[in-house]
């Protein structure tokens, strides 16, 4: 019972049989109609003509097909996304992701904020990796302003960023299991997550949207509570991760549903712009930390991990491996951390010279980049963020045709999209 097998579609078989009979009888092949444009009423929206070719394609129904509307409120769309799924029985024919249910206009707001207050707006972008969201603008603004953060600040940045990566990957394990009906791993993941965010709140003062990075440094130095929590957490974290791993990694049902499911080849992933662990799970060793080293990553010893499979299981394994790699990085960072100031001398209102800067970081979901343009004023002239999960979502309609509805959830969870980042 391999999961690679495509489920034969009864109507298709019927049509094939009919075609065979007609050929035997010497009749011309029956022309199947192009289907009927179903409109939007079938998914609960006011009807209107289709705007694009693609829209007409999705909303045109052949015989026996049906549109199922998942979201915007659905238990496993990871927030507020709508998937319009064209199904025949339970077999997915096509998927049209409809985004924008969480579009808050963050780019526009950032263009109306000072360089320091931009940090508060980018936090809720990809809310499971708020530290990474702040890291990219911080680097970009430092390039624009022409300053460098002190070494200790860079180390603290790398430390909190890797801590953030640990809990984000941990949660991915849990959400993947939850979308397949496993109730418990998510709770074990949250134990780890709560430990980390409490630790980060000890250093930044906030549990989730940290607002910790500043242009030219970080907001606070490490304190005793942070370091003691870090020690306690480090002693027990691998055990917590193992609790989820024991339930999932060798589980026959879990493997049966993930191995060979949603295979994304390396070339396909590059064409679609998939980055991060999902790209590396397809065998492409592209990691921004190595490809365009930033912060202190050149000084740390680590390698780009890749998997060969490119399926859901590989993406899961890739997350687990990178999680452990991050813990290893955290050890190195704590060992090497120098003393010194954590904030460079910058004025209260930063006014960089006119110019452009591009900065990319490796967030838990992939390449997260910022393109900032300054016109010499106190706020960015243009502030553009590229979110990895936004781009990765395009892989979903490519992978799903011929699969079952149930697998849609597993494949989507394996890309670990966060709607805050997708919709900006």
């Amino acid at each position: 019972m391999t999961s690679e097998l495509r489920i034969p579609d009864p109507l298709e078989l019927e049509a094939a049989e009919e075609g065979r009979l007609r050929a035997v009888a010497g009749l011309p092949p029956l022309k199947r109609g192009g289907g009927e444009y179903a409109g939007f009423e079938s998914v609960g929206l006011p009807d209107r003509p289709p705007q694009t070719e693609r829209e007409r394609e999705v909303y045109t129904l052949d015989e026996g097909e049906m549109l199922v509307n998942m979201g915007p409120q659905h238990p496993s769309t990871h927030g507020v996304m709508r998937l319009v799924i064209k199904v025949r029985g339970e077999v997915v024919i096509d998927i049209d992701p409809v985004l924008g249910y969480l579009h808050r206009g963050i780019e526009k707001l950032c263009e109306n904020a000072t360089y320091t207050t931009v940090m508060t707006y980018v936090d809720p972008m990809d809310y499971l990796s708020a530290m990474h969201n702040e890291h990219a603008p911080a680097i970009a603004f430092e390039k624009l302003f022409g300053i460098k953060a002190p070494p200790r600040a860079e180390y603290i940045r790398a430390l909190v960023v890797e801590l953030n990566r640990v809990f984000s990957h941990g949660l991915m394990m849990g959400f993947l299991a939850l979308d397949m009906g496993g109730l418990t791993p998510i709770l074990y993941s949250f134990i780890n997550r709560d430990d980390v965010v409490d630790m980060l709140s000890a250093i930044s003062g906030q549990r989730m949207l940290f607002n910790f990075f500043r242009v030219g440094g970080v907001n606070f130095d490490t304190n005793d509570e942070f370091m003691s929590r870090l020690g306690t957490w480090r002693a027990g974290v691998l055990k917590t991760i193992e609790m989820s791993e024991r339930i999932l990694t060798d589980n026959e049902i879990f493997r049966g549903r993930t191995v060979g499911m949603g295979v994304l080849s390396g070339a396909q992933a590059i064409a679609l712009g998939v980055t991060g662990p999902s790209l590396r799970a397809s065998g492409v060793p592209f990691d921004v930390r190595k490809a365009h080293p930033y912060s202190i990553y050149p000084e740390l010893e680590f390698d780009v991990i890749t998997q060969a499979g490119g399926d859901v299981y590989s993406r899961y394994l890739q997350r687990v491996a990178e999680l452990k790699q991050s813990i290893h990085l955290i050890d190195q960072i704590v060992d090497k951390m120098p003393h010194g100031p954590v904030q460079a001398q910058v004025p209260g209102i930063i006014r960089p010279r006119p110019g452009r800067a591009y900065a990319a970081v490796e967030s838990p979901r992939g390449l997260y980049s910022v393109y900032a343009i300054s016109d010499g004023g106190p706020n960015p002239y243009r502030f553009r963020m590229r979110d990895p999960s936004f781009v990765s979502l395009q892989a979903l309609p490519k992978l799903m045709p011929g699969r079952l509805i149930a697998d849609t959830m597993a494949v989507m969870a394996s890309f670990d999209p966060v709607m805050g980042g997708v919709d900006k």
Binding site: L187, R257, I405, D407
Partner: protein, 334 residues
């Protein structure tokens, strides 16, 4: 006079059983809440009553006070009928449940056949619920339930046929008597037990086979549009069915009300009834616990894997088991 007595006895027994389903559901739900909580390193409900004992009761009574909504487009007659069908299927199958010596409501000679006939009715209710709700999730869930239950009924029943062939009876009481004589059926039919347990989990839609109410795929399957007490009936029926399946497994494979040791495996008189009840409930709730444990541990299988398992693995295995059993009965003249 006999007739009157019979009618009275029938009324008393059915009323008692109907009443009994409700506390049974409460106990099983409470077990699920607390056991899963402990497995997830939580406390679980602990505010209502000592150790939160009455939490499930509170959940149940809350349904009574909720608005009962019927969607505009729904088919009203069938929409209201479906919860009753599911609940009655679960409650009716309790009629032949061998709780203890002298505590069987209806001691048929075809009790096993009756049981599997009645428990299979719930699929009709789920199918109707899925169709009547006028909701795509419900429809998909209802169709899934039909496919799943119809498929799993076959290995489920075939695995029991082995037991029946060996025991030579379709009556639960006589089967338990046979087990007292020859040892528990567990020893004679281990393969049958495995098939029965897997198929029974699928039959009552428990994890890892909870395709019907797969809440991460189909929002709540056929129950999506149900609210208030109508949903409460589905909710209760699910847990009553879990208890019933555990009870039947106890009766078929684990000696029913028999104690696990032979010294007094069974007592006489009223004391014997109590003694039997004790052992029956202990064993049944142990299997309920196992089902809850599985729910906390396993992810859900996919619908095609589920069907494949029924037709490609369980059915041939059950046939083989039956063949070997029948052959052994013939050869060794058991």
């Amino acid at each position: 006079m006999d007739l009157l007595f019979g009618i009275l006895r029938f009324l008393l027994a059915t009323t008692l059983l109907l009443l009994m389903t409700i506390p049974t559901a409460f106990v099983v739900i409470q077990m699920e809440l607390k056991v899963i909580a402990q497995m997830q390193l939580r406390y679980g409900p602990n505010r209502v009553g000592p150790w939160g004992m009455f939490q499930s009761t509170i959940h149940g009574f809350k349904f009574l006070a909720k608005e009962d909504h019927i969607p505009d487009q729904a088919d009203r007659a069938t929409f209201t009928l479906a919860p009753w069908m599911v609940y009655m299927a679960a409650a009716m199958s309790m009629l032949v449940m061998p709780f203890a010596p002298g505590a069987i409501a209806a001691d048929f000679n075809i009790g096993i056949v009756y049981f599997f006939a009645v428990i299979g009715l719930s699929v009709v209710g789920l199918l109707i619920a899925g169709w009547a709700s006028y909701n795509k999730y419900s429809l998909l869930g209802g169709l899934r339930s039909a496919a799943q239950m119809v498929s799993y009924e076959i290995p489920l029943t075939l695995s029991v046929v082995g037991v029946v062939v060996l025991g030579g009876t379709l009556n639960f009481r006589e089967l338990i008597a046979w087990q007292q004589l020859h040892g528990w059926m567990l020893i004679w039919q281990p393969v049958g037990l495995g098939i029965f347990y897997i198929a029974s989990l699928a039959e009552i839609n428990r994890t890892p086979f909870d395709m019907v109410e797969a809440d991460s795929e189909l929002v709540a399957g056929p129950f999506t549009e149900y609210s208030g007490m109508r949903f409460g009936f589905f909710f209760f029926a699910e847990y009553v069915a879990l208890f019933i399946m555990s009870g039947v497994m106890t009766a078929l494979f684990f000696g029913g009300w028999l104690a696990p040791w032979p010294f007094p495996a069974q007592l006489e008189g009223f004391g014997g009834t109590l003694y039997g009840l004790l052992w029956f409930f202990l064993k049944s709730y142990m299997f309920v616990f196992v089902a809850v444990w599985l729910r906390a541990t396993l992810p859900r299988v996919r619908v095609d894997q589920l069907m494949g398992m029924a037709w490609k693995v369980l059915l041939p295995l059950a046939m083989l088991n039956l063949l070997v059993t029948a052959g052994a009965v013939l050869v060794f003249n058991l």
